[in-house]
């Protein structure tokens, strides 16, 4: 591949004074193809061009390139006239301390992956929520990792958005993916009285604007939404319609009734729910009429009972009101499914008003025909759906006490919210109490279904747990400690304990866990120690934001 070294032909393309680019061009093509002789050089290297060995063009080119490379490096000039973006306004809220930041990174699994691992998102979410509540904002060096974590994990977006602070929102404005995290949070910085926001703002900003207007003047808010309605995409229609939940009044009925004809089912469902909350709306009247036609209170004899009639197939008006003639699953019959829906569409208060009985009394009633036990479950299914949708704690409490099978006798989830979903309608104290009672009454090794249910109920309780539930969990773990292998229930509880056990307060759960691990060294005790460490890290974090 060596070209003839005796190639001394006179340059044909050689410039008199070569720039570095000339040298690159000549070298790229190759001197054997297109001769090029360097005699003079541009720029600061010109002064020493005389030192080049012109006898051999290839060597001269390399020498010249060396001169110019060094000259270019030494002669690098900064660019003038570059303008930075507007600086971030000052932050008034306190920033998380370096120690809090360190605990957060350790808990977030920063050692395992760059930024935060999604697996620890709940823990991270708890701590960020606590920080936000205490009025802290994320420290600046933490912001990119937090924003990235929130981009990866949608569930973290609201809590991350809440601790971004002025600096974080300023930073997120530089990247479209980060800006979406800001949009998921409270749009507290956007002026909510500037009509321009409604015209040009992001979805979150428009939502905040509508909510603010709604608070000032409910009718004006609804009218603003109605005026824009036709040109909004479905997801925005759903999000903005939900803003009407605040200060809902009879004045909204006409608009909501019209929305029952919306193209998107997600939007229709919101309108149905809102209308259910208007006790004297025509929608509620229609639903109550349909439901009372199939469910009656019989007062024969001294013990009242409920009687059901098989519903007819829904007519067009019923379908418009959300009664679905299609089965959610083949495991339920059409009659049962229609009955469930018809009962669920009624505001729960209507039943107590109509029948003059409390939820507990109603749930305890027998349902005719008594020989068909499934009829009672159909009725309860309707109430369960209604309790979950309408969020009625009193009904949820009553239904949970009814002793129905948790799967509704093999019904699909769409037609039978299980106990756990029902328990979610309870106030958090009642929910934790229920979970604690469930644990107190269970064996260490219940059947898999019972164990999973208990774990799910404990998982559903607000974390960190109130003392009663935390103590119940510790009792189970203490009973399991001597065992060589960890049964399903304590294992599931141990997984939850890192997040659920209170990190602060009277009882030092971390120390108790460590004592358990010391007293009973088993294969699984490293898990107990890890849990204790996590509780300690949470404590360290919480102490920093006190």
């Amino acid at each position: 591949m060596t070209a003839s070294s005796g190639d001394r032909s006179q340059p044909s393309g050689g410039a008199a004074s070569a720039s570095f680019d000339d040298l690159v061009t000549a070298a790229t093509v190759g001197l054997s193809r297109k001769p090029f002789a360097v005699t003079e050089l541009d720029g600061p290297a010109a002064a020493v061009a005389g030192a080049l060995d012109t006898g051999d063009p290839a060597t001269a080119l390399l020498d010249a390139a060396a001169l110019m490379t060094v000259a270019r490096r030494a002669g690098f000039r900064p660019e003038p006239g570059i303008v930075g973006s507007p600086a971030s306004p000052a932050e008034a809220a306190p920033e998380l301390s370096p120690r809090a930041e360190r605990s957060l990174r350790q808990l977030g699994g920063a050692q395992l992956a760059p930024g935060f691992a999604a697996g620890d998102k709940e823990l991270l979410g708890d701590l960020l929520k606590a920080a936000g509540k205490a009025g802290y904002v994320a420290s600046a060096p933490l912001l990119p990792d937090l924003l990235d974590a929130a981009v990866r994990t949608a569930a973290l977006r609201p809590v991350v958005a809440a601790v971004l602070g002025v600096r974080g929102r300023w930073l997120a404005g530089h990247r479209a993916d980060w800006q979406r995290v800001v949009d998921a949070g409270p749009a507290s910085t956007v002026p909510t009285d500037d009509p321009e926001v409604w015209r040009t703002g992001s979805q979150a900003e428009r939502q905040a604007y509508l909510a603010a207007l709604r608070a000032r003047d409910p009718n004006a808010g609804r009218e603003l939404l109605a005026a824009d309605w036709a040109r909004l995409p479905a997801d925005e229609r759903a999000a903005l319609l939900a803003a009407l939940a605040r200060d809902l009044s009879a004045g909204d009925e006409e608009f909501l009734d019209a929305v029952l004809d919306d193209r998107a089912s997600g939007v229709r469902v919101i309108a149905q729910l809102l209308l259910t909350r208007l006790p004297r709306s025509r929608f509620t009247e229609r639903a109550t009429e349909r439901a009372t036609a199939v469910l009656r209170l019989e007062r024969h004899g001294h013990r009242p009972s409920l009687a059901v009639t098989r519903p007819a197939n829904p007519d067009a008006a019923a379908v418009r009101d959300g009664i679905d003639g299609r089965l959610p699953s083949p495991s339920i019959g059409l009659g049962a499914w229609l009955l469930t829906q018809l009962i669920a569409a009624v505001p729960m208060a209507a039943w107590t008003d109509l029948f003059g009985l409390s939820p507990g009394e109603l749930v305890a009633l027998a349902v005719e025909p008594r020989l068909d036990a499934a009829r009672r479950l159909d009725v309860h299914a309707g109430w369960r759906l209604a309790a979950v949708r309408q969020g009625s704690a009193e009904w949820a409490q009553a239904l949970l006490a009814a002793g129905d099978p948790d799967d509704g006798g093999g019904r699909p989830p769409a037609a039978w919210p299980d106990d756990q979903r029902l328990a979610a309608a309870l106030p958090s104290a009642a929910r934790a109490q229920r979970a604690a009672a469930l644990l107190a009454g269970t064996k260490l090794t219940p059947g898999p279904a019972a164990a999973n249910q208990a774990i799910a109920e404990v998982a559903g309780a607000a974390m960190p747990w109130p003392g009663g539930l935390a103590d119940a969990v510790m009792t189970i773990l203490g009973r399991a400690a001597p065992l060589a292998a960890l049964p399903r229930l304590p294992r599931g509880l141990l997984d939850l304990a890192a997040r659920g056990l209170p990190a602060t307060g009277g009882r030092d759960y971390a120390a108790e866990l460590t004592r358990l691990a010391d007293a009973y060294p088993q294969n699984w005790t490293p898990l107990v120690r890890k849990t204790a460490e996590t509780v300690l890290l949470r404590r360290a974090f919480l102490e920093e934001i006190r």
Binding site: M1, T2, H174
Partner: protein, 450 residues
């Protein structure tokens, strides 16, 4: 190579081999003199022209030669690694015995090495000439002209440089495999690298004429070993050294870590370098896995009292730590000595002493600007950081005087931006010919590693 058989007192004749290139001797006689009388006799015969030429060596001679080459290669592999910022090399040779004989042997070895390097660099210059004659694109693409073979177009000559005991040059050449097709302007970058190698080869030709400091620089760039003991014998600079930046080097064969220090009283910069210990797995963050764990665990934002010994060569940057305080303590935010212009002027001065200098320590106050941001009259862009616009697609750091330096693109620039919030911040890093690589930013008094 000479070989022969010499009848001694035993049943079998002694097998004698002399490698004239070494010179090195091997004889199966039990004599402890070296070379033995049999080897000397063979040499005498050769000097009188009575040793005939043969096309192939005898088996015993060939076996010894092969064994010797293998050992030489092994020794070569265990030798020193170099770092682009390095103006000196890590310790290679062990403690040297004080006897005159050992010194003579060392001098002989050094002469041999210089000769080998000279021969290798002559080959390199011829190879570089070929690249320019054939054309960079054709040469880089290889004989097949396919882009796939462009990878490793310099690997062969790099291997040759290992043989020639010029590992520093070999390292540069291996790095060039990635340049062809590495994005716009690669021929310019490749020619620049070739030209720097040409300059190094030329400098080595005149090594004896160069001022001692420049000669030391040339030697270290080529990869001559410098013993740590020799470095520690040089005068110490004792100061309170602030750790300003830590850079993990992952490109080389062995992971390394570069620590930038600045002396409080002397105002001097120093750079410590350590490599992952063999068998340590080279995992960053595990201090046990380093040849010098005390250096590897230094963190920006701390300072320690230490006596540093600079390696020979100018500008003096690389140092070895002698006596040092065991536990570094928290340091305050450093105060930059100058702005962007001062940084560039310092680098230019460094280039006067070491034209191969590509890494220069930087400490300045500036405001980071993301790509495409801040065109006059426009707020922060809502549509993301897509480039374009008059300000192009590069990150920059603007100093207080309004001078903008390009920043080397990396994910942690977003952390730099977060800490800055659009306000000036103190940044430590490395200046490279194509931009500033930020390593540390100060968030108030707290150092944040980037």
């Amino acid at each position: 190579m000479l070989w022969g058989l010499c009848a001694g007192s035993g049943k079998n004749p002694y097998q004698v081999v002399v490698d004239l290139g070494g010179p090195a001797y091997k004889c199966s006689c039990p004599s402890r003199k070296f070379p033995c009388k049999h080897a000397l006799g063979l040499l005498l015969n050769w000097a009188h022209g009575t040793v005939p030429e043969e096309s192939a060596p005898a088996d015993f001679a060939a076996a010894w030669l092969a064994d010797r080459r293998a050992r030489a290669e092994k020794a070569e592999k265990s030798v020193v690694r170099t770092d682009p910022a390095d103006s000196g090399s890590p310790a290679g040779s062990g403690p040297v015995a004080g006897q005159a004989a050992a010194a003579r042997q060392a001098r002989q070895r050094a002469e041999q090495r210089a000769e080998r390097v000279a021969n290798g660099l002559a080959e390199l210059r011829s190879w570089l000439r070929d690249q320019v004659l054939v054309g960079l694109s054709a040469a880089a693409a290889g004989p097949g002209g396919r882009a796939a073979s462009a990878r490793g177009h310099a690997d062969e000559i790099a291997a040759r440089m290992i043989d020639a005991q010029a590992p520093g040059v070999a390292g540069v050449l291996r790095g060039l495999s990635e340049v062809p097709g590495s994005g716009e302007g690669w021929p310019g970058r490749l020619l620049g690298e070739y030209a720097q190698l040409q300059l190094l080869a030329r400098a080595h030709q005149r090594l004896g004429d160069l001022p001692p400091e420049l000669a030391a620089t040339v030697r270290s760039r080529i990869g001559y070993p410098t013993s740590r003991a020799d470095v520690l014998a040089r005068p110490a600079v004792t100061d309170l050294w602030a750790v300003l930046g830590v850079r993990d080097l992952v490109d080389g064969n062995v992971p390394g870590r570069r620590i930038w220090l600045r002396g409080r009283d002397s105002g001097r910069w120093a750079m410590l370098l350590t490599f992952a210990a063999p068998g340590g797995g080279g995992r960053f963050g595990a201090a046990g896995g380093w040849q010098d764990p005390d250096t590897a665990r230094l963190r920006p934002g701390t300072e320690l009292r230490a006596s540093l010994h600079y390696y020979p060569g100018q500008p003096a940057l690389r140092a070895a730590a002698g006596e040092r305080q065991a536990q570094p303590v928290r340091a305050q935010r450093p105060v930059p000595a100058g702005d962007a212009d001062a940084l560039l002027a310092g680098y230019a001065t460094g280039l006067e002493q070491d034209p191969w200098l590509t890494v220069w320590p930087a400490l300045l106050t500036g405001t980071p600007v993301p790509p495409g941001a801040g065109a006059p009259g426009v707020g922060a862009p809502r549509g993301g950081a897509s480039g374009g616009g008059p300000q192009g697609n590069r990150w920059r750091l603007i100093d207080r005087a309004g001078a903008a330096l390009p920043l080397a693109d990396r994910e942690s620039l977003w952390t730099l931006l977060a800490v800055s919030g659009g306000h000036p911040v103190t940044v430590a890093g490395e200046w490279h010919p194509d931009g500033l690589l930020p390593l540390t930013v100060w968030h108030g008094d707290r150092a944040v590693a980037l």
